[in-house]
């Protein structure tokens, strides 16, 4: 394999450049032109071009910028997930933003900035670049959470996310500093190469650094006990933004965790115990607290915590099979979680909505297709065949068992059972609930139709024909470092 490491190669980061450029253009044009539809279209165009460029990089591992940027299949796979997430978010957001009178062009700009940050996070082995990516991703997120300025809850969400996020970032930076102190480098590849020597020389420094870095990312993926911001932030943020939060930053956090902890620190066997504990706590707390939520966004917030727990099971199991199952799960999760959020967004777009589960009652009578799709996504979240959710869980759990984590798998399966309750509650409300007043119809645009089509097809395709997709996720493992 030919890895050009020192080259300053703009082609290497052309997807990022295109998306950034589109973001700038939208930001500037938006100040002079009134048409928000055009801004949305330009952003969509930028993202799609970026997606095409990223796909060109598949199976051509390259490195550049003195080893700071790495475009292996792993980073390409995650970049595709990030850009798809942004595209679907954009498609679902438009009508909602208009309905809530917050249709500002900054939304699209921020969305794209954040996406570029995620791509940097997944596409580097240098801790400093990963941290930079994290911040480029996070700062727009804080603003997006608080976008609905006249809504106190949205303000609360933005402020809380910002403060806690900044707090958690400090752990990450401190961890990186300790690692630098221990090894004299921020390049994971060099830390990994000298690992046994470094461990002998300054074990405490190395381990403290690693754990603090883990803490920083555990915050981003919303692992318990670093999860407490999630329900408040998710509930207050505009619904499409919440959908974006629950998939994009989480996938980015896992991309970094996978690269740093499972590969970079593969010599630290002790991390397994930490992951085990985090996985169990995250699954249990997420699922149990989800049961008692009456607000569907809060419910989905806890549900996203629980799903982080399932992915942590894969991280605990370690090894290539487990990692590829985690990658597969993230792809599947993107489809069905965003699909679910698309429908919640549609329902939330009605005036006077405040995202209570009761508001879904009577959906099936008025919009049978929409209700069926909602059921599909909820079944996928709960892990029923033949949806992507089932196959994703199946692969993670079977890898965990194969690596000897039987009890962990038992706990995970029981949690999965518990989750059926609160997902089906939504389905029951949609199909059998008697609405208090007549269900006010929702409006429907082509953009929403495309978003639903893509997510539904993805959910079913990954569930019915998992072979092809699993192969893709297995290919995404080499060469990771």
């Amino acid at each position: 394999m030919d890895i050009r490491s020192a080259a300053i190669d703009l082609g290497l980061i052309s997807p990022e450049i295109i998306i950034l450029a589109s973001a700038m253009v939208v930001l500037l044009l938006g100040t002079v032109l009134k048409s928000r539809g055009l801004m949305a279209f330009l952003s969509l165009l930028g993202l799609v071009v970026g997606l095409v460029l990223v796909l060109q990089q598949w199976s051509q591992p390259q490195s550049g910028y003195y080893g700071m940027v790495l475009k292996d299949n792993f980073s390409v796979f995650f970049s595709v997930v990030f850009i798809m997430t942004a595209i679907i978010t954009l498609l679902m957001a438009r009508d909602y933003l208009i309905a809530k009178h917050i249709d500002r062009h900054e939304f699209y700009t921020l969305l794209m900035f954040s996406t570029v940050g995620m791509m940097l996070m997944a596409g580097s082995t240098d801790l400093v670049v990963i941290f930079l990516g994290l911040e480029i991703m996070s700062v727009p997120l804080y603003v997006m959470a608080g976008m609905n300025k006249i809504d106190p809850k949205s303000n609360e969400s933005g402020i809380k996310y910002f403060m806690i996020g900044a707090f958690a970032s400090s752990f990450l930076v401190f961890g990186i500093a300790l690692l630098y102190g221990a090894s004299g480098t921020t390049d994971l590849r060099r830390i990994m190469a000298d690992f046994s020597f470094l461990k002998m020389q300054s074990e405490l420094l190395l381990y403290s650094g690693a754990l603090l870095v883990m803490t920083g990312f555990a915050f981003k993926v919303a692992a318990v006990p670093f999860h407490m911001w999630v329900p408040d932030v998710y509930e207050g943020a505009p619904t499409p933004v919440t959908g974006f939060f629950s998939v994009g930053p989480k996938a980015a956090g896992f991309a970094a965790l996978l690269r740093i902890c499972v590969y970079g620190f593969s010599g630290m066997a002790e991390l397994t115990a930490v992951f085990w504990l985090l996985a169990v706590l995250t699954m249990v707390v997420g699922n149990v607290l989800a049961i008692f939520q009456n607000n569907i966004k809060r419910m989905l917030a806890y549900s996203s915590i629980a799903h982080a727990g399932y992915i942590l099971v894969a991280l605990t199991a370690g090894g290539e099979g487990a990692v590829s199952s985690a990658v597969y799960y993230l792809l599947a999760y993107m489809f069905f979680n965003l699909g679910g959020f698309t429908i919640v967004t549609i329902i939330d777009s009605r005036t006077g909505s405040n995202s209570q589960i009761d508001e879904i009652k009577g959906l099936a009578g008025r919009h049978p297709y929409l209700a069926s799709l909602l059921a599909l996504f909820m079944f996928a979240l709960a892990g029923f065949p033949p949806t992507a959710g089932f196959m994703g869980k199946f692969y993670i759990f079977s890898e965990a068992v194969r690596n000897g984590f039987v009890w962990l798998t038992v706990i995970a399966v029981m949690n999965s059972l518990v989750s059926v309750f609160y997902y089906l509650r939504v389905v029951v409300a949609a199909f059998f609930g008697k609405p208090d007043q007549e269900f006010s119809p929702v409006s429907f645009s082509p953009a929403l139709f495309i978003a639903l089509l893509v997510t539904a097809v993805g959910t079913l395709a990954l569930g019915c024909f998992p072979g092809y997709w699993l192969e893709l996720s297995q290919m995404s493992m080499f060469p990771i470092i």
Partner: protein, 647 residues
Amino acid sequence: MNHSLYLIILLPLLGFLLNGLLLGRLKKGFVSFIACASVGLSFVWGVKVFFELLAMPEGARAIQETLFTWIPAGQFQVDFSLLFDPLSSVMVLVVAGVSFIIHIYSIGYMHDDPGFGRYFTYLNLFVFAMLTLVLADNYLLMFVGWEGVGLCSYLLIGFWFEKKSASDAGKKAFIVNRIGDFGFLIGLFIIFWQVGSLNYADVFARAPEVFAVGGGVITAATLLLFLGATGKSAQIPLFVWLPDAMEGPTPVSALIHAATMVTAGVYMIARSNVLFMMAPTTLAVVAIVGLATALMAATIALAQNDIKRVLAYSTISQLGYMFAACGVAAFAAGIFHLMTHAFFKALLFLGSGSVIHAMAGQQDMRYMGGLKKQQPATFVTFFIATLAIAGIPGFSGFFSKDEILWKSFSSDFGSPILWAVGLFTAILTAFYMFRLVYLTFYGEGRMDNHTKAHLHESPKVMTVPLMVLAVLSVIGGYVGIPHVLGGSNRFEQFLHPVMTGLHGGADTSEHVLTSAGHSAGTELTLMIGSVVLILIAIYMAYYLYLKNIDLAGRIRNNLSGVHALLHGKYFVDEIYGALIIRPLINGSLFLWKIIDVFVIDGIANGLASIVGDISTGVRPVQTGTMRTYATMILAGAVVLIGYFIIR
């Protein structure tokens, strides 16, 4: 060379998706066009690949196409791949061809039905599932098709679900089939457990190493597979659903419950011939069950008055023949009869549909009669099919039925007793079929005047399919003229590679070929004898039901006990009801009222309240203040690092 096999199953699937997603938004003409065109094109493609297959050298006639890896899970890998070999090619042509004809016929038959679109949607889904079943190259994919056709059968039997008897019949079919499917699935588990694969090629190649001939494991596995076949193909003990399935629209009865789906069991056994050959006990069971079913169903058919029920029992009886053939290791003969039966039985059902159409829904033959004047086209085609099923020389049924009778006499696994039962059943078949023809088409009309005034021949869209099937019912047999009549039995030769372990495994044909040990004279004698007996049976039917109709009534009265037994279908439904269903209901009531309400609900509610308590305990931590959140993060980090320091 790329044969694009997938098109054969993809086209009906597309038809299903188009019609299903746009349900109720398309014009009737367009719906039927999509449905018919998709199946028709699928058939055309099947024919094209068939000729490509014929062009290959005899030993290498198998096209395998892997579309993608379907389920990769460690050691267990299943590909979505299709196999087009002589056996599946015959099935594809029969299924797609007959389906296409019946699709056309349905345009006329279902024209005024409000569920027109739904009907064609289900029908396309059925064709897709059935073609998947026969084209699969592994047992798991076959099982997908197997379940798929079961689902469609349920949907179509209960098509007029607002009628209670129809929805009940749908449920009955589904539940009875589930019992068979359960056996089938366990059989597959055993095969996978022993062989480590569900691919035909792997299973058949490795079977001789893994299983001992006549051993307990292979006997159990094949018996379980056969249980699955008895469910789908309506054999003892699971045949009870098929007569009730006549609640569905008549073209459905023709397609699913006569020509195609019910033959899935026969196909599955013929496909698994390598396995069955290793279990002589199972083969004997298959032969005996097959013939017993054939005889039992034929006797029941003697005493039924509903035209469709007679045909339904006749189907069960003919399927019994096919199993009998498989049971004496004459798998090719079974498939041969499957094919000819598909033609003439589809024709019989469609013809009866044409009659019922004209009679404004009346199905009781006692109120019919003399229809040959009003429905000449229906009559002629129906008569041809009757000659075929009765086994009159020159018609397709003669060749295939005679083949089975001869094999059951001469094969290593056969015996004169099997032959005698088979022959007796054939005589009964001729009798009840001509009884049906005489009661329906001959004599004086016994319908009321209103119906009489409205009698009419069916429209062209219905009669032309009848004519096509009539032609097939005549010529379908000439692909398998036996040696003794100067032919070369091309059909058996064509299937020979599949039965000789082309995919590895034992040569199953040699046992049958040893029948050459019997003289041609014996074969001819038996053949002529059976034809004479069948002709006598036809004359008896003529005498009893046309010439001297009172005599039939007197015989019925004298044998009232026997008649009641036959008319009541040996009361099998009632016996099952008393022995199985009642106890099940009582048991379920106990489980529901006692176990579920007290024990399960108790545990569940208890758990829920425990979880609730935990949650109330935890929730105060979620205060909403950022100070708490930050503290938790810090505490978490401190605990993690502390754990490493004091470790």
